[in-house]
Symmetry: C2
Subunit: 261 residues, 2 copies
């Protein structure tokens, strides 16, 4: 693919109106926030109650039709998790699928200022709106299972027993979301306070201001009860790279430029 920089079009569903926050619509940024998020929050409606439902699920964006697609390309979201019978029915119903909203959020830091009011998170979040259907063919299911497994631990798929048993294929349900609209919000930077507080010398002298970086850590592997193998490279490399990247990201966020309100 060429070096395109496609954007999700702004509409009433996805447009970011919040001050001080950087709204982002390019596919690469939105997709990258989703694909590095260990838990996605998937929301949908059921006819039986007034509340939408939110479920935590594992997911990954990809393209079954063009597996070489990268984050800058139009992609579909594959979701794995417990698909309840009510979700199954809704996603299998006639029509275009079940309307869903999927959120991916990363906390990068706690921004501590002079005024409580100016406190902030550094964060990156994305939302996707689309229609979910159940993946039907075994080929596409296998594609999604490998995609999602390798997103949890890089290269894990080929280091486990393959292929899946027929019974495993049958009891695995994958949801596929065709994306209608999406956007991301990024908040980064150090502290900002209003002039009235900055001029209060006693307050400035007595109040620590700055950023507490926040990042997810993968700890030392804990062998299971029937393990006899040494920790393999695909796991130690994954842990080290993930930890380095996440930590670096949170420190970079603290150095970022906060947009003016």
């Amino acid at each position: 693919m060429g070096r395109h920089n496609l954007q999700y079009p702004k509409d009433s569903t996805n447009t970011i109106k919040r001050y001080k926050v950087h709204g982002v619509y390019d596919l690469e940024t939105v997709h990258s926030i989703v694909n590095t998020c260990p838990i996605l929050h998937v929301s949908f409606n059921t006819p039986s109650q007034p509340f939408p439902v939110v479920l935590p699920m594992i997911g990954q964006l990809g393209s079954f039709d063009r597996p070489s697609a990268d984050l800058r390309d139009p992609l579909e979201l594959y979701l794995h998790g417990y698909v309840s019978s009510r979700m199954m029915n809704l996603a299998q119903a006639d029509g275009e699928g079940m309307p869903v909203c999927v959120a991916a959020s990363h906390v990068d830091g706690l921004v501590l200022t002079l005024a409580t009011f100016s406190h902030n998170y550094n964060y990156r979040s994305a939302v996707l709106f689309g229609y979910a259907t159940i993946v039907k063919t075994d080929e596409e299911k296998l594609y999604a299972m490998e995609l999602i497994s390798n997103s949890v631990v890089t290269d894990r798929w080929r280091h486990t027993r393959q292929p899946p048993l027929a019974s495993e294929m049958q009891s695995t349900n994958i949801l596929k979301v065709r994306i209608e609209s999406a956007s991301a919000k990024i908040s980064a930077g150090s502290t900002t306070d209003d002039k009235i507080d900055l001029e209060n010398k006693e307050l400035v002298a007595s109040t620590w201001t700055g950023v507490l970086p926040v990042y997810q850590t993968i700890g030392e592997p804990i062998p299971g009860p029937y393990n006899t193998a040494k920790v393999p490279e695909h796991i130690s490399d994954f842990s080290k790279e993930t930890n380095d990247q996440r930590k670096q990201r949170s420190f970079e966020a603290a150095e970022g430029e906060r947009r003016a309100s």
Copy 2:
């Protein structure tokens, strides 16, 4: 309060049906999962589109009417974040409030088994269903602002400029959710695989199985551009205690007992 152990009643909205996962309904567990979660995902519907909306927000359960209430008591959820004009309108409309679903999720570990199919997360998640309204009085708003600030960094409120300015009070919107129903799911433990894979000696010898513990870390404080203060105890204590607790929790989860399917 006495040592009661109240539970949210099971109904069609909140009942957990998933195998291998431990459904929990007692208030203390559900409330504790919510109150230790740095980001909550709040879902609601708008009349203008088929998709529910999910927003990341910061929140904390408490009781304005009885501030001494603890996690075992009936509580209300206070939410802080960008309240869009569409949310404002929905939450201020006549009636009982805006129906919302709020999810809180923690990842405690990646459980890596012989079969890809048996891979798992250790996690704790909670969902609350309820009706959101806008907090109207300044007293309750202040209660919620202090509650939420101190949930982000323990004891931060009294170490910042107080009280809030009138303009800050006016531009802060707090949502209050009256909880109708709630539940939690906990998945913990080490690896389990099926007999067919455990009997495959070559597979067992060549495949690492165990848990990668996962926990959120607060890094070394990064002073902001106008900071002149030393890192105070309320911040260093908070960082150390939070880091110790989160790490310990993820290791304890790996030692937990996985429920049979």
